[in-house]
Amino acid sequence: MTHYEKQSMKELRAGMGEGLVEAGKRNENVVALSADVKGSVKMDGFAKEFPERFIQCGIAEANMVGIAAGLSLCGKVPFLGGFAEFVTGRVYDQIRQVVAYSNKNVKICGSHAGISLGEDGATHQTMEDIALMKALPNMTVLVPADFNQAKAATLAAAEHVGPVYLRLGRSKMPCFLPEGEKFEIGKAQLLSEGKDVTLFACGHLVWEALQAAEALEKEGISAEVINIHTIKPLDVEAIVASARKTRAVVTCEEHLFNGGLGDSVAQTLALHCPTPMEYVAVDDKFGESGTPDEMLTNYHLRAADIVEKVHAVLKRK
């Protein structure tokens, strides 16, 4: 298998922040909006570099979504940033009407997504955001895997015309993908080839999937690892091709079972290539307070949990 080195520990939200500054330099129409969390969502760099293009909306996310939609009419490319729960679930109807249905060029950056947010607890740990955003027609849903990819995804979102949801975590996580690699929206990323089972992963769990593949290799099991950084539009072709090859699938994500990557893959397999499949995800419950490490371990989102699911799916092959 292909081995990946942990280069550093970095926050994905910070990757977005760097990408946004770069996008702002490349395109003077890029503007940013935040709801009193510009530091938390790492938009402070952009605000400092381009103060006239940063709009402080205060603690009013619904209004921020509408303002972003209005700005997009005038040729602006608005990136709005907030905690993922408050820029998706809290404002779902606003996004539905003036971003998705009206098909406006608005980029929604949801930081602090997933259970690895940790200590803030369940009110802030959205694990439903992928389900909400992918349900909307016209919406593109991006879930980058590390800091470097979060930066690249931000640049890709700026160039893409149309609504985008960009999911980002808060905590420092392994950075392992090459710097400066182009992000291709809608294109699954083959990280390691294998023949016995496919691990489809997104976000922070891509690293865990790679660790699982290393452990499986020692057992003589060859796992293919594919990073599904774009949940929508889904790379159906790549998923079907890999499932046909390995005949066993495990999906890995920091999201609820319902409506996440696993459901997108399950739907694809059911329609095109029925294949035994297991989920590594959170089963229909809210999170709680704890360190990011404690959350990932206690909610069974670790490499060891992926290995266990691989053993289970191989028995069904």
Partner: protein, 282 residues
């Protein structure tokens, strides 16, 4: 520019259109449409600076209007057609399968003149603020107008937006409230009294113009001209437009009965008899 008398004639025809469109569709919202007809006619023909045949989504170089209470599509579409955005004959397709004239405004069906979907209430002021900020950023001196129902002011997002526009001095924005004191369940006073609405907007750092009779064309023209004169002075401008829901037909006025209910085929001729045809029916 039209004379006041010409505008009044257009308004009468628009009210006929509203009633015929909604009865034809067997659904829709005639009440608020008829109450705001005079305002829409004044805006489309005299107040706003735009040219239908040059419509662009960006609205660059022209005034823009966002109607936040999207349910009043009958008056929106009739005035748009009468102003030349699309053929008047198309009004007969209102709410029919395959139409560009969706039940609520949509950008998904390529209808020129519509820049944003509305219908889910409370969102148009935020959108208008975004467009107004966009115009400031691009150096476009034209104005952004929004229109709201008074019942719609119960939505919290309106007050988020009102706070933003006042605090951030969005002074190229004029928001008009159709202040008819009617909503679906009862009067606004009964459902959720607005109290001193003028004082509320002033407390949010807006300038406020009150039009006592929004069904008097001259008062609408004068009031909107006054509102325009108040722009560019560091504050957003609010117009409180006192209207009567269902104005123009005696048995439809002063009630919320026709908010979302249409005239039967039997009642339609009785209503149309009070609104003589001026420009020709669709």
């Amino acid at each position: 520019m039209k004379t006041t008398q010409e505008l009044q004639q257009i308004a009468t025809q628009v009210r006929r259109d509203i009633l015929r469109m909604t009865t034809n569709a067997k659904s829709g919202h005639p009440g608020g449409s008829m109450g705001t007809t005079d305002w829409f006619v004044a805006m489309n023909f005299n107040i706003m600076d735009f040219e239908p045949k040059n419509f662009t989504m960006s609205g660059e170089g022209e005034d823009m209007l966002f109607v936040s209470q999207g349910h009043i599509t009958p008056v929106i579409y009739s005035t748009m057609a009468r102003r030349g955005y699309f053929p008047v004959d198309e009004l007969k397709t209102f709410r029919k399968f395959g139409t560009r004239l969706q039940g609520h405004p949509s950008t998904a069906h390529n209808l020129p003149g519509i820049r944003m979907a509305s219908g889910s209430l409370g969102q148009g002021l935020s959108v208008g603020i975004g467009a107004a900020l966009g115009k400031k950023m691009t150096g476009d001196k034209h104005l952004v107008y929004t229109m709201h129902g008074d019942g719609e002011l119960e939505e919290g997002q309106i007050w988020e937006a009102a706070m933003f526009a006042g605090a951030k001095k969005v002074d190229n924005l004029i928001a008009t409230v159709d202040y008819n004191n009617q909503q679906i369940d009862a009067t606004v006073d009964e459902v959720m009294s607005l109290g001193d609405l003028k004082a509320k907007f002033e407390a949010f750092m807006w300038k406020v113009v009150v039009i006592d009779n929004g069904n008097d064309m001259q008062q609408v023209l004068d009031g909107m001209a006054k509102a325009k004169a108040l722009t560019g002075q560091g504050s957003p401008v609010c117009v409180l437009l006192r209207t009567k829901m269902g104005y123009g037909v005696d048995f439809m006025q002063d009630t919320n009965k026709y908010h979302g209910a249409v005239l039967s085929a039997d009642d339609l001729p009785k209503a149309l008899a009070q609104l003589p045809e001026t420009l020709g029916d669709f």
